[in-house]
Amino acid sequence: MSAIDSAEAAVPRTPSPDESPVAGQSMARLLRPHARSFAAVVVLQVIGAIAGLLPLLAVVELGRVLLSPGPADTGRVWAEVIVGAAGLLVRLAFTAASSGIGHLVDGQVQLTFRRHLAARLGRVPIGWLSRRRTGELAKVVGQDVSAVHPFIAHAPGELVSAFVVPLVSLVYLLSIDWRLTLITLIPVALAIAHVPLLMLPARAREQEEFDAAMGRIADSVVEFVQGIAVVKAFGGGERAHRAFRTAADDFVAVFSRWVRGMSLVAAGMQLALSPPFVLLVVLIGGTALISGGGLAPADLLPFLLLGLGLTAPVAALGHGFDDLQAARRAVGRIKEVSEVPPLPEPTAPAVPHGHRVEFQGVRFGYDDDREVLRGIDLALEPGTVTALVGPSGSGKSTLVRLLPRFFDPTGGSVRIGGVDLRDLPTRELYRMVSFVFQDVRLLRASVTDNIALAVPDAAPEDVVRAARQAGVHDRILALPRGYDTVIGEEAALSGGEAQRIALARALLADTPVLVLDEATSFADPQTEHAIRRALAAPAGDRTILVIAHRLETVADADTVVLLDDGVITDQGPPAELLARDGSFAAFWRSHRSAIGDPDSAPPGGKPR
């Protein structure tokens, strides 16, 4: 029912990237189904290019007939004219077909590549992702895949004709006069001599800098747009965000350096290949040979016509050289992304019994130099609510992030139903746990699709029920098109409303384990109270973990866990903890005194 999901049936599943450990192989595999089309593109292009020689040969033969002494052979003249015209038609048909097919295959291959990359990026560890910049990765999927275009649509055909056509011409010219042939090759040799200059390490470095600078622009643009409010409030009003300007200036500097480095070499190469220069060389050679009597004047003609043909493909190569280099680098970046090892799936999946969640001696750090969790032992019993409290930065969200396996612990284990998460297939895991993360994110999709994210086939009534429970149903009805309103396009929501959509999303998933990371931080007290009630009521067998700061919320929980700097310092029923006067009680009291609250009696089980 949901648009997010409609493609599922239609899309032929890309083979799971896990099957091939080496990304290079997998790229080759992605290309394999198109091998026939590639072959067709090349063959058509070559035939077309060779047919393109016929009209030139016709002129040559015409020259021979006309320049031969005596009256011209009319029949032969017209025969040559017909051959020339036919050659043109064949060339037209074949090159058009080749280019058409080339572009079609190109589109398909790009789609395959993009799907492959998207699938990969959907499996790379979250930690890897959070350290990369979105703009840069999006550029790999978008622009870099597009940059592969010449590799696919043009290069194969052009490359092959660049060899075949000159070869045919060369043989023909050699059969006429080998000396003039060698002279005709001088411009080609000059041009080829320039090629190594284009591939100097300095050039390669400049090109890499060029790409890096382009990537930085992509990053800064994403930040610019998404942080526009901050740009406006702090960017000095009228001036663009500095990072963008710097990135742009860097880019232009690199670009002009690159262009300057290339320009002399490129100019030399282009001059050597330019028709005026080639004609000059051929004419000088031809004049010398004709003057010496070593060459029939009519034999100069093929060199004037085909000699240029010798250089044209090389020119095309030179012209496409930048594109090809850019394509190669793009392929490099594509490979880099597809080579990131995904989170390993279990080889022998285990079956969980029940849904008791256990953290056993869990240690974890984002970087090697700091452990954020330092030995956590915690069990979340089915049918209970556990409240996790602690100072900001103490590792609460981090603990929660281990449950969906965004990260794996560096020590100890996280278990559900007695099974280590690493032995649980991901799909099974997500069927058991749902989350409201601290950073609420809604998709640019309809409200229904947003709520039914994890349960695409949910019935509309269920979606509405979840929205009611989360206290956002009325607000949704007030949207321009109710549940069909596309968020971010037709309407935007306030922070608290968005949070409640996220809550409805988790409630609809109706998993045995529910984790709420500051899910009501933007809610007003009444909404918060209502949500707490909704969550508290039909607890049943459900395991709930809440991270919250309002102590009133905490007082309702069955168990309170106080986390401080990565270790659990107090744990137990709230009333008991207060009575025991441990670290939780101290936390509570310092909070009251910090606020200067006259009404300092603890709520909950205690009488006022």
């Binding site: 040559e80 999927v141 990053d219 997500y430 409640r500």
Partner: protein, 571 residues
């Protein structure tokens, strides 16, 4: 096209641009004229007097040298103009983007703007550097050659000239036919771009929802649309390319036939016919490349049009004669504001005297954030007025207004970089001591001490490498450092534990003493010390007063207070 380009990049580039075009045209004409020398050379060679060819050959050589020099300089000039325009354009676009109203930035803009500022700008500015020279050469050189042909033999010249209108016509038709598909393709590209960015940034919820790439249809749809659009573009381009090739080939065939006929009839020398056929071959190649160059040029043109459209989007209207606010009190005077059809604030009046701390409380979605955004003029009101120091915010220059306001937004956004860089964004010229003081007040000092990188710890894109509370404290420190007379705080401690929250509020109180402060908060303990509390509901202020007063009144605020203290009773 050049005119639009110049309008987009600015008039100051008109002169170098004209010079470049003149150079390129000269190069192309020289190339065409140089081929004219082929005729006497070949006449001499084919006529059996090779010695006569020598002087012509020398002239040919000289012409080639002139061509080489001209070409080098015209290419160089193109590159120069191209890069300076690129630079100027980046700045213009960036400045303009920063001036556009916040309302322009909806969720889909990320894709559009990133395509535009990345590949798009390069493509548009590449016109001067890469496309102009081949384009001018492909047009002017054949025309010059045709002129040369006309000079040598009017019949063959005319035959060649006949192709010119047909070439022009096919190009025009192709351009018209392609405009729609090109536009669609571009639209699809940036749709897909926006989806990819969303897909990457929403990975946590997508994964937790069991949505892998294959199961995330929105992305897959967008990618497939790109493929379809590119297929349509490729197919739509074919007729034009074939038409052009056909025309050029027909011209060549016609010359071949005519040449053969004339030569057989003896109306023209064999050497001339052959020379003209060689010229015809020179004429055909550049014309054939027109299809390719034309396509690229169209792409660039479309990109320039899009840039033009963005640059012509009205930025927030600026006052003709900006006025200075007198003092720093705030006043909402019968303000009505709508988001589309939804009336968010209706006839709201509230005044915040200079130096007072006012708390705004109310259900989520009541319009609290909107109220603060109106002060910073992120939107303009539909009715009524928002005044700062007695002056309508619309009559104050944006720069002057922003310099008076420090804001902490509800959804924190940090830029990739270090903690220090992000804090210093508040006031780039601040001393170290001032930075430390702001950090202490925001309780950021504790974070800096704890993190291994300290002040140099990387915050990640958007602040992703910090915890929610740490991120909030960076943004509070950033605003405190700005040291503006008006401070707007929107649920700034929602992710903080109570102890840090209380400490931060004390810090704010201390550092912001004497400032005009408007703060939105849900945890009522933090608002009870405000000078004045306004309860916002349904876009109006329904209750006002201080904490004790409002509690005594037993209205909506008192309900909130009680709800916040009551535990949820469980059955």
């Amino acid at each position: 096209m050049i005119r639009i380009l110049l309008r987009v990049v600015g008039r100051e580039y008109a002169r170098p641009m004209r010079r470049t075009i003149a150079l390129m045209t000269a190069t192309a004409i020289v190339e065409g004229l140089l081929y004219a020398l082929l005729v006497p050379v070949l006449r001499a060679l084919f006529g059996g007097s090779p010695a006569d060819a020598r002087p012509w050959l020398v002239a040919f050589g000289a012409a080639v040298a002139a061509y080489a020099v001209l070409r080098y300089f015209s290419d160089l000039s193109g590159m120069r103009v191209g890069t300076t325009m690129l630079r100027g354009m980046y700045h213009r676009l960036g400045d303009h983007l920063a001036r556009l109203p916040i309302g322009w930035y909806d969720a889909a803009r990320v894709g559009e703007v990133s395509v535009m500022a990345g590949r798009g700008l390069l493509q548009a500015m590449g016109v001067a550097a890469h496309l102009l020279a081949p384009f001018i050469a492909a047009l002017v050189t054949p025309l010059t050659i045709v002129a040369v042909m006309l000079a040598f033999d009017w019949r063959m010249g005319l035959a060649a000239l006949a192709a010119a209108p047909v070439v022009a016509l096919t190009s025009a038709c192709t351009a018209r036919a392609m405009a729609a598909t090109d536009a669609e393709r571009h639209e699809r590209d940036h749709q897909a771009g926006a989806r990819v960015i969303e897909y990457l940034q929403a990975q946590p919820i997508l994964r937790a929802g069991g949505r892998t790439a294959e199961r995330f249809g929105l992305l897959d749809d967008a990618l497939r649309q790109v493929q379809r659009a590119s297929r349509r573009t490729a197919l739509a381009a074919l007729p034009g390319a074939i038409g052009l090739t056909l025309t050029v080939q027909a011209m060549f065939t016609a010359l071949l036939v005519l040449g053969a006929y004339l030569a057989l009839g003896g109306g023209i020398g064999a050497a001339e016919v052959l020379a003209i056929l060689v010229l015809a071959a020179r004429c055909a190649d550049p014309l054939l490349s027109l299809a390719d160059i034309g396509g690229k040029l169209r792409g660039a043109r479309a990109e320039i049009d899009r840039l033009d459209a963005v640059l012509r989007t009205e930025p927030l209207p600026q006052p003709a004669e900006p006025r200075e606010p007198r003092g720093h009190g705030l006043e909402f005077d019968a303000v009505t504001f709508r988001h589309g059809d939804r009336t968010v604030l209706s006839g709201l009046s509230l005044s915040v005297p200079e130096g007072r701390r006012v708390a705004v409380v109310g259900p989520s979605g009541a319009g609290k954030s909107t109220l603060l955004q109106l002060v910073a003029r992120f939107y303009d009101v539909d009715e009524g007025a928002v005044r700062v120091g007695g002056t309508d915010v619309r009559a104050i220059g944006t720069e002057a207004l922003m310099s008076r306001i420090a804001v902490v937004f509800q959804d924190v956004y940090l830029f990739a970089g270090t903690i220090e860089e992000n804090v210093r964004l508040g006031r780039p010229g601040a001393t170290d001591a001032e930075v430390r003081a702001a950090a202490t007040a925001a309780r950021l000092d504790e974070v800096v001490e704890r993190l291994p990188g300290g002040w140099h710890a990387d915050v990640g894109e958007g602040g992703a490498l910090l915890s929610g509370g740490e991120r909030q404290r960076v943004s509070i420190a950033r605003a405190l450092l700005k040291d503006a007379p008006i401070v707007l705080l929107d649920e700034v401690t929602s992710a903080l534990d109570p102890i840090n929250e209380a400490a931060v509020h004390q810090g704010i109180e201390r550092l912001m003493a004497g400032r005009t402060v408007v703060m939105v908060a849900h945890r009522l303990r933090t608002v009870q010390r405000a000078d004045h509390i306004a309860f916002l509901e349904g876009g109006r202020i329904v209750e006002e007063g201080d904490h004790a007063e409002l509690l005594r009144r037993g209205g909506r605020y008192a309900d909130f207070w009680n709800a916040s203290l009551a535990p949820a009773t469980r059955q």
